[in-house]
């Protein structure tokens, strides 16, 4: 695996889900030009086998070490693609996904800005992927036991399946008895079987099961741990016990809708009005079979009235009303409760059966008879004489000792009144009122309707977002008995998967602590919902239990010292993503400048620029013409800030060009470093950069590391005879008069190749290349009569043509001048070599000759890192290209070997160490070192 990131980008069409809205070809083309990207492809379904093979082949053939898949939400396919790349030997954590479906194509209309958003998402993912590190997953053993919360039919069935499979099961039930709501039901639909027998059998089996432990009248008070190893605290009779479990099944059931919330129906006011559940137990009492049915707590008045009427057989009219508390947005229950239509049909049939003379009217909006045998059951209800009237009654009023149901029969289009002895409200299902508390205990999500949310509505209907916690029955959504049992058995088998494997894999994307920064304050532990952080008793630092940690990142935000990071979302990764998005602009169709930083061996054409005694004015004039011809939006160059001050500035107003001075002998800031900042802030702006040779070299190095995009930068190299540090410069300006005077003084020596080097900055004394030949455009003055002529040159005919150099200069240069210039460069090179040798020789007196010792000396200097911050290359090195697979030492060596000698480190060092010289020395040694071959 190589050092630098090699990213492959795969853009998925998702059939037409993405491709119909996002221009996938444009995104692909764009992605291919992003830094570190080796190739980008698009394909109809990346998650399909051929799609995955495509990725695997590229990894093998192109030596990719990071993969970005731009497709759907990572919830679904991140595991898929992690497995894909792991199969061919890439660490599974070297993957990032850009969600261009849920976050883009599904939520925006087709159009340019949608495609651009997809580009942004991809660019952001690439920025993160380039900084991803390989992580190792862990495996932990599993407790072969399950805790089931809730002892209704779903909970009991799940417990029985798990017990039968040989696992220990504990059922925690808040009531005294098992059976839940189903125990209150007299007969089932669509089979009209006595429910009591069925529930009874389940309860008996549970009670008799050797592996099932029942804890009735108990409740869960706390859940800790993780999939495979939960510890559940259960309170029973004021005693709390801890039950270890490998998995948890939530089967907490539902509540019925409270019809008091619909005051116009008179529930609680008129004893004739009752709920389906109340009616069920009223009617059950009339039958010997019903004796086993658990009685629901029916209001006294309702029960006595109903019983009395039923006893007298004085039932002439019964009205059933559907959709009470279902499909109703005003009370926040927009959903259909799914069972009420059939419950009503069943009860209506029971009334017809027991009271053949009674009129039975069902008011309905739509009859939903979708289950097996349901439609036939509904058919039978009508054939039994149940009258279905379409319309949802608006109110119930009193009339004598009866009530009258007011509705519109919508099929007649008339307002109707139906008098009734009994009105049965088909109340819908609601999430239990303690749902939020349970959700908090188990960290479950709830859907908008308040029921617990499954991990995926289609593919993972019994799982939750918490690994190891499963859902069964009506706590997930309204269900009938069949569906509850089905889901319970599904949940039981899903729970068996980790139990039977015996071990679970723990995600490696956890948080980790930088112990140097950690103060052990414990603020992280206070916010951790998973109890994953503890204080190390000896070291006094926090430690992360990476098995408990779910990688949520709360601790990282709570830490006041920024000592906590989360793998896969470390600060630098997130910031890189944010930088890309916040600085993103519409990408231009093609780069403006392609011909930068070449070998320097191409044929070079020189033009002359007459200076008429004022070289600075001539250069200003020339650069403003370049500005116009190239259509620049800005230029980074040294300017005279005032008569006595100079510095680098990003010029965005052409008028400011009159203050430009590319020859000013000052190096207080580094143009390369500033150019890098521009790069991230304005990647696609057409900017010119006036660079000294050392700055041009630095940019070249950074570019090779993928940290600099030269496509939209016109680089202008300027000959440099050496410069002064800020303090020295200030003193010399004072002596000379103005900045202009000082520059003029220095230029006087251009013909001879500058002043005696020992007056310059240390790095400049050692500098052996005074001319930046690898830039787009070159301004030369060394060896030239600058008061008369200076030279402008390029190796790029396209640049020459675009800038119209033959027009904005004074024509092709005389060969003799060019020769004079090149000859002086050679002379200067020799002169500086000698200076360098002398300096290094002097250094060797104080320092050992062996490079390793030098390095350790450097490492021990003082941990202020100011030199590193000042170094334009080091910054690029440790940010975008921080060695994937490379040790810090290798990175360090690579950095040292590539030193461009700008000397920024010298100036930054608070101890005034001659760092540039030291580094130059080490650099020589390192270049000889075999270790460097890997670089």
């Amino acid at each position: 695996m190589t050092n630098s990131p090699r990213v492959g980008v795969y853009i998925c069409h998702c059939g037409i889900n993405i491709a119909a809205t996002v221009d996938v070809a444009a995104v692909t083309e764009y992605a291919a030009r992003l830094p570190n990207v080796v190739l980008a492809r698009n394909y109809s379904y990346m998650c399909s086998d051929p799609g995955q093979v495509l990725i695997q082949n590229d990894i093998r053939e192109l030596d990719l070490n990071r993969v970005v898949v731009a497709s759907c939400s990572p919830r679904m396919h991140e595991p898929t693609f992690r497995a894909t790349i792991a199969e061919v030997g890439l660490n599974p954590y070297c993957l990032d996904m850009a969600n261009i479906r849920e976050q883009c194509s599904w939520v925006h209309p087709q159009g340019v800005s949608t495609t651009e958003k997809a580009m942004q998402l991809v660019a952001s993912a690439v920025a993160k992927a380039s900084r991803l590190e390989p992580l190792q997953t862990r495996k932990v053993p599993v407790t072969p036991a399950v805790l089931v919360i809730g002892g209704g039919v779903a909970g009991m069935q799940a417990a029985l399946d798990l017990g039968d499979a040989g696992f220990d099961v504990t059922i925690v039930e808040h009531a005294a008895q098992l059976g839940g709501h189903v125990a209150q039901i007299y007969k089932t639909f669509p089979t009209l079987e006595p429910t009591g027998l069925m529930v009874h059998e389940l309860i008996e089996r549970v009670n008799a099961h050797p592996r099932i432990r029942l804890m009735s009248e108990s409740e869960v008070t706390d859940v800790s741990g993780y999939v495979g190893n939960f510890n559940v605290r259960v309170k029973q009779n004021e005693v709390t016990t801890t039950i270890p479990a490998g998995a948890i099944i939530v089967a907490t059931g539902f509540e019925t809708f409270n019809p008091h919330l619909k005051p116009e129906l008179g529930y609680g006011k008129y004893p004739q009005v009752m709920t389906t559940l109340e009616f069920e137990s009223v009617i059950a009492r009339r039958s010997p079979e019903g004796a086993t049915t658990k009685q629901s707590p029916v209001q006294g008045e309702i029960a006595s009235l109903a019983n009395e009427r039923l006893a007298r057989n004085d039932i002439k009219s019964v009205v059933f009303i559907q959709c009470i508390g279902s499909r109703d947005q005003t009370i926040g229950n927009p959903y259909c409760s799914r069972v009420c239509c059939m419950v009503t049909a069943k009860q209506a049939r029971l009334v017809r059966e027991q009271f053949p003379d009674a009129n039975v009217t069902v008011f309905y909006m739509d009859v939903r008879a979708f289950g097996k045998g349901f439609e036939e059951f509904y058919d039978q209800a009508r054939e039994d004489g149940v009258i279905y009237r379409r319309g949802n009654p608006s109110e119930i009023n009193k009339r004598g000792d009866r009530v009258v149901v007011k509705a519109e029969d919508t099929l007649l289009g008339e307002q109707v009144e139906v008098e009734a002895d009994l009105v049965v409200l088909a109340v819908g299902m609601r999430p239990r009122s303690d749902s939020e508390a349970v959700a908090q205990l188990l960290k479950l999500s709830r859907s908008a309707d308040g029921f617990f949310m499954e991990a995926h509505p289609k593919l993972r209907p019994v799982e939750t977002s918490m690994a190891g916690v499963f859902l069964a029955g009506c706590c997930q959504s309204p269900k009938d008995i069949v569906d509850s049992i089905s889901q319970a058995r599904a949940a039981a088998s899903a729970a068996m998967i980790p139990l039977m494997r015996g071990e679970v894999q723990v995600d490696a994307a956890t948080s980790f602590i930088d112990e140097e920064l950690c103060a052990g304050c414990g603020q992280c532990a206070a916010v951790c919902s998973f109890s994953a952080l503890t204080l190390h008793p000896v070291r006094g630092k926090m430690t992360v239990n990476s098995v408990l940690c779910q990688g949520c990142g709360s601790c990282a935000t709570a830490c006041p010292s920024k000592a906590i990071k989360v793998h896969q979302s470390v600060f630098e990764q997130v910031m890189a993503q944010m930088d890309v998005i916040s600085n993103w602009r519409v990408a231009p169709p093609r780069p403006l400048y392609r011909h930068l930083f070449r070998t320097g061996k191409e044929a070079r054409t020189y033009w002359a620029l007459n200076t008429d005694g004022d070289p600075i004015a001539a250069v200003r004039n020339f650069l403003s013409k370049v500005w116009d011809r190239a259509g620049l939006q800005g230029m980074l160059a040294p300017v005279h800030r005032s008569e006595h001050e100079a510095g680098l500035e990003l010029i965005t107003e052409p008028a400011r060009l009159s203050r430009i001075d590319p020859f000013v002998p000052l190096t207080a800031q580094n143009a390369a470093q500033m150019a890098l900042q521009l790069d991230s802030a304005h990647p696609y702006s057409n900017y010119g950069l006036a660079l000294r040779p050392c700055e041009a070299r630095a940019l070249d190095e950074v570019k090779q590391r993928g940290g600099f995009n030269a496509d939209f930068r016109l680089t202008i190299g300027v000959d440099c005879m050496g410069s002064f540090s800020a303090e020295d410069f200030e003193w010399r300006v004072e002596k000379a008069g103005t900045v202009q005077d000082l520059t003029d003084q220095e230029l006087l020596h251009a013909r001879q190749g500058g002043i005696a080097p020992d007056r310059l900055r240390l790095a400049c004394q050692m500098c052996t290349s005074s001319s930046a030949k690898d830039t787009d455009l070159q301004i030369s003055l060394i060896g030239l009569p600058v008061k008369e002529t200076i030279l402008v040159s390029t190796t790029d005919p396209e640049i020459a043509g675009r800038l119209h150099l033959s027009e904005i200069t004074d024509g092709l240069a005389e060969p003799s001048l060019v020769e004079q210039h090149e000859q002086m460069l050679v002379t200067m090179h020799e002169r500086r070599e000698r200076a360098l040798e002398r300096i290094l020789h002097d250094l060797a007196v104080d320092l050992p000759a062996e490079a390793g010792a030098w390095m350790s000396h450097l490492a021990n200097c003082a941990p202020c890192r100011k030199c590193l911050e000042a170094c334009p290359i080091y910054q690029a090195d440790w940010l975008p290209a921080s060695g994937y697979g490379a040790t810090a030492e290798e990175t360090m060596k690579r950095w040292l070997a590539d030193c461009v000698g700008c000397g920024m480190c010298d100036q930054a060092c608070p101890k005034h160490l001659p760092l540039s010289a030291i580094i130059h020395r080490i650099s020589r040694e390192v270049k000889k070192s075999p270790l460097l071959e890997q670089v």
């Binding site: 005051p263 959709c323 499909r327 947005q329 919508t410």
Partner: protein
């Protein structure tokens, strides 16, 4: 042809959410006696393609805007507002019932729909030493409204309220002849242009006078200030806190500022005005006031609170007869009140007061039951 762009109309008013359950029509007091069928009208708009003809739909003028339909709808569709909007389309075409036209013109000219002179508006308070809000300012603006300003029974209510508030030491003032119609009924009759002009005028005046808190006699005025003014651009500057007087009285009672020295020893049943109850959920405050009066025995009718039967006085129906003037809801309501054995039928709305009063007379029941406003009853117990 009186066409509306039905598709746009349905979309803007959220009619596509209608599930055709019929709860609106099932509860509609007018559907009992006229052709008005809110569900069916919505259905017809939905299936009309892109043009729905309002010609000949006289039943649209039957709606009393009692909001039973909206309060029952499980899908949050508002048939009442759809009907008002259809009225607007008719009014816009200039096809207005002559009575409506007169009322609207009078509102524009005289600041009241009753064709009564503007300069008589403040007469009722001449001898009452009520602050002139515009001159002295006060904590509360007492917005009297048109009916309590001009109608004899209404004036009694306004005077009763003044005596109650004075005895409780509330600092309030009135606008006198400068008071202008609130325009609630203008809006319900569909005259959008006039409504906006009136809102702008009133909002401007309230702003100039720096009205921070105000209360009304009529639930209709209360509702339009509370719920409609700030929703249109013309009323954007309106920001006063609005209360119905029963809310004020209930608070004063609770705080002990309002005390009854006398009593009112009668069986009273209370009729919930639609614009107080169904529109604004104010059911308890009027009852709190009534039960706070010594001697009052409050009996509830079967149809109370959310099920209260509309008296047929809202939605501009004070000026439009509707298609079945033979049967009056107010008469049904008085019969319901009589069934309870109550001696007094109390309410808290000037329109209800008028319609119920008339129904009592029509039923020759003046001996058995009297219609009184909550404020009148309370003032008698001071």
């Amino acid at each position: 042809m009186l066409q509306i762009e039905s598709r746009t109309f349905a979309k803007e008013r959220g009619l596509f959410a209608c599930v055709q359950c019929g709860k609106c029509t099932g509860g509609c007091p007018m559907a009992m006696k006229t052709k008005l069928n809110p569900r069916a009208i919505i259905y017809r708009v939905l299936i009309a393609g892109n043009g729905f003809n309002l010609e000949g739909r006289d039943e649209l003028w039957d709606c009393t805007t009692c909001s039973t339909c909206y309060s029952r709808c499980p899908k949050q569709v508002n048939p009442m507002e759809a009907i008002v909007a259809m009225r607007s389309a008719i009014v816009e075409k200039g096809k207005i019932h002559p009575n409506v036209k007169t009322a609207l013109e009078s509102t524009f000219r005289n600041g009241n729909p009753l064709k009564l002179p503007r300069e008589d508006r403040g007469l009722w308070a001449k001898d009452l030493q009520v602050k002139a809000f515009a001159e002295t300012g006060a904590e509360y603006l007492f917005y009297v409204g048109c009916t309590p300003s001009y109608d004899p029974h209404g004036q009694k209510v306004a005077r009763a309220l003044v005596s109650l508030l004075q005895s409780a030491g509330v600092d309030f003032g009135i606008l006198g002849n400068d008071e202008n119609c609130c325009s609630s009924e203008v809006r319900r009759l569909g005259e959008v242009g006039l409504f906006e002009a009136m809102v702008e005028e009133n909002a401007e005046m309230f702003k100039e006078l720096n009205v921070q808190k105000m209360f009304t006699v009529s639930p209709h005025c209360f509702n339009v200030f509370k719920n409609d003014y700030h929703t249109i651009e013309a009323g954007a500057t309106f920001g006063a806190q609005v209360q119905h007087y029963t809310q004020m009285l209930a608070d004063l009672l609770k705080d002990g500022r309002l005390k009854f020295n006398g009593s009112f020893a009668k069986k009273v049943t209370y009729h919930d005005p639609c614009y107080l109850g169904k529109h604004n959920g104010i059911f308890d405050e009027p009852r709190e006031v009534l039960t706070g009066i010594p001697g009052v025995e409050l009996i509830e009718m079967d149809r109370s609170r959310e099920k209260s039967l509309c008296c047929e006085g809202g939605g501009g129906r004070m000026w439009v007869e509707g298609t079945n003037p033979g049967t009056r809801l107010a008469q049904l309501r008085v019969k319901e009140a009589l069934e309870t054995g109550a001696e007094v039928l109390a309410t808290a709305c000037p329109f209800c007061l008028l319609t119920l009063d008339e129904a009592v007379k029509h039923l020759n029941a003046e001996e058995k039951i009297r219609v009184l406003d909550v404020a009148e009853i309370a003032a008698q117990a001071l």
